[in-house]
């Protein structure tokens, strides 16, 4: 006899289990289920199918890097080191070999304008040479809106391509990581963030995480960044530059797909109150 359980361990009556075209079971609330046989057990159980990054379905990581003049010096160096280590960490996930990347990376720099860094245009992470990364901080303004709008345009195209994918509910949700040491002094960043956060991969929204660099004294607008993030808990205060590197690596290569999971990850890995 087959028995079915949700990921929370709640048993689903067999009569309530429906199947999709491939015969895979779905729960009564349309939660996808999968079956497996536990070692040493004869009964079959079902658990919720989770969004998992793998080579056939990589997770898109979008990094929005503040390159305004105030970031010059140790801050931009820490940011480059953090992005490089995030790429290195992402490269070590999963099996080796060409075409096996678990992640794709889109790197956008922004100051008064925003642009995609050449060589980081949504490319598989294993194709990136981490040593080649360079960023210069010499912009005269900080324009969150431009960065968020550019990210949204790329994400719309990306999500449209995957809209009809049969496994869209197990694809990892794209993550957008924005860090800055200033206040947005152009446009309407909250409107741009709201529009971006409405994008969905299947049934789940794109996740936006923000980090505000307060190290050494800065004019960072923490309240704005907190509201820009998917959840207030998805904001991270960066009080020292080592934390910026840790945040980029742990969040960027986490493979997690929900704002709640990422907020828990941030809470669990840093001592800074958010």
């Amino acid at each position: 006899m087959e028995r079915y359980f949700t990921a929370d361990g709640i048993e689903v009556p067999a009569a309530d289990v429906r199947r999709d075209a491939q015969g895979r079971p779905f729960g009564p609330d349309q939660v996808p289920l999968t079956t497996w046989r536990a070692p040493g057990k004869r009964e079959r159980v079902a658990v919720k199918r989770e969004r998992v990054a793998r080579s056939g379905q990589p997770q898109l990581i979008v990094v929005l890097a503040d390159t305004s003049l105030s970031m010059a010096g140790p801050r931009i160096k820490a940011a480059v080191d953090g992005i490089r280590e995030m790429i290195l960490d992402c490269q070590t996930r999963g099996p080796r070999g060409p075409g096996k990347s678990y992640f794709k990376v889109l790197l956008i720099r922004f100051d008064e304008t925003a642009s995609v860094i050449p060589g980081y245009e949504m490319v598989p992470v294993r194709d990136i040479d981490p040593d080649a990364l360079q960023l210069e901080a010499k912009g005269r303004a900080t324009n969150f809106q431009a960065a968020l709008n550019l990210a949204e345009r790329h994400l719309r195209d990306y999500l449209a391509l995957l809209a009809d994918h049969p496994d869209i509910e197990t694809f990892p949700v794209p993550l957008v990581l924005l860090f800055s040491d200033g206040d947005s002094n152009r446009g309407d960043p909250l409107a741009a963030a709201g529009s971006l956060k409405k994008l969905r991969m299947g049934s789940d929204p794109v996740v936006l995480l923000c980090a505000g660099i307060t190290e050494g004294g800065s004019s960072v607008n923490e309240d704005l960044l907190r509201k820009t993030a998917s959840l207030p808990e998805c904001y991270q205060r960066i009080s020292d530059l080592e934390t910026l590197k840790e945040w980029l690596v742990k969040v960027g290569s986490s493979g997690k797909s929900s704002a709640a999971d990422l907020a828990a990850l941030i809470r669990g890995t840093t001592a800074v109150e958010i």
């Binding site: 070692p39 080579s55 490089r84 070590t92 996930r93 999963g94 099996p95 070999g97 981490p130 040593d131």
Partner: protein, 326 residues
């Protein structure tokens, strides 16, 4: 073309371990019943084509050790960690070094104590095997670290920065390892990692199945041997799963299987299949693995060593081994 690390490992294998065994000429399912087979060394790096894991990085090795107490069968099965560089070489090295490190203490134990060697002493033989495998992996990792550019495996890591990164973090040459020893009286098995280890023994007309190690359900956090001192497994947890029995009567069966589809397999079913002495049609093992896909295994792979032990036969230097590969 073989990578630099490939040449290095081949050189070390040849220098230290090559005389031990032989390499069967082809992949596929094999049924070995030839009593004259005294040692086998087999590795496979072919996963399910067109899927994520096109390499399975598995290795197996077994052979008889002649002692004054009679023949003792030594077995090793290893599975390179997927997220580690050069896992294929790691599993080969671990099997070869593990068995080689077991030889001398095992021979000494049986020569001195006879067939009734204590479980404690046998466990020290297994631990010697794990220590030997770990030391061999550490030696290779140190060589790689000493000259990262010279031994840079471009097939594994296309960028030198990534190669240096994984070397620094010890994410190179990681592997699981199962070691087992079977004599006419007892069986002892140890495992580091997420292999399936299951034993069936008969006593007083009843059979008893024991699952000693089971595959992890998660993708991350597999315990593994790695050559890095920083991450080295403490000696007390070398044998995460250690089991010994000295009371089987007549027959026993032992299954060692790498994770892969084994995490969807039922240990009792595998033991049933192993104990079923009827002849198998060609491709039976492949079909059995295919059937597991229906249980959620997907396009994965598995390497299994199955051993059925007939006490009388072992005493006459007879043993039957089956290996199913995909």
């Amino acid at each position: 073309m073989t990578s630099p690390i490939g040449w290095l490992v081949k050189y070390l294998l040849h220098r230290h371990f090559a005389p031990f065994g032989q390499v069967p000429p082809r992949h596929g399912s094999t049924h070995l019943t030839d009593d004259r087979v005294l040692a086998v060394d087999w590795s496979t790096n072919r996963g399910a084509p067109g899927t994520e894991k096109t390499r399975n990085e598995d290795a197996a090795r077994w052979g008889f050790l002649a002692t004054k107490a009679g023949p003792v069968l030594l077995l090793a099965l290893a599975d390179g960690v997927t997220s580690s560089s050069c896992g294929f070489w790691a599993s080969r090295v671990a099997c070869a070094a593990g068995l080689r490190a077991m030889e001398e203490p095992a021979r000494r134990a049986y020569d001195e104590d006879g067939p009734g060697v204590s479980t404690h002493r046998l466990s020290t033989v297994i631990e010697a095997g794990f220590t030997g495998a770990d030391t061999a992996l550490a030696g290779i990792l140190n060589r790689l670290r000493s000259e990262p550019e010279r031994y840079w495996s471009r097939q594994e890591e296309p960028h030198l920065a990534t190669w240096r990164y994984v070397l620094a973090r010890g994410q190179v040459m990681e592997t699981t390892l199962c070691l087992a020893m079977i004599d006419p009286v007892g069986i002892i098995v140890g495992s580091v990692g997420d292999s399936l280890v299951a034993l069936r023994r008969c006593r007083s007309g009843e059979t008893c199945d024991v699952v000693i190690g089971a595959p992890d359900e998660g993708e991350h956090g597999t315990a593994a041997l790695r050559g890095d001192d920083t991450y080295r497994i403490p000696p007390e947890s070398f044998t995460r799963a250690l089991y010994a029995t000295q009371d089987y009567e007549g027959t026993a069966a032992l299954v060692l299987a790498t994770d892969g589809v084994a995490r969807h397999a039922d240990a009792s079913s595998l033991l049933d299949a192993l104990c079923d002495r009827r002849p198998r049609p060609d491709g039976w093992a492949r079909q059995s693995i295919h059937d597991l896909k229906g249980r959620g295994a997907g396009e994965d792979n598995m390497t299994m060593i199955g051993v059925t032990v007939r006490r009388a036969a072992l005493e006459e230097t007879g043993c039957e081994a089956q290996q199913a590969l995909r």
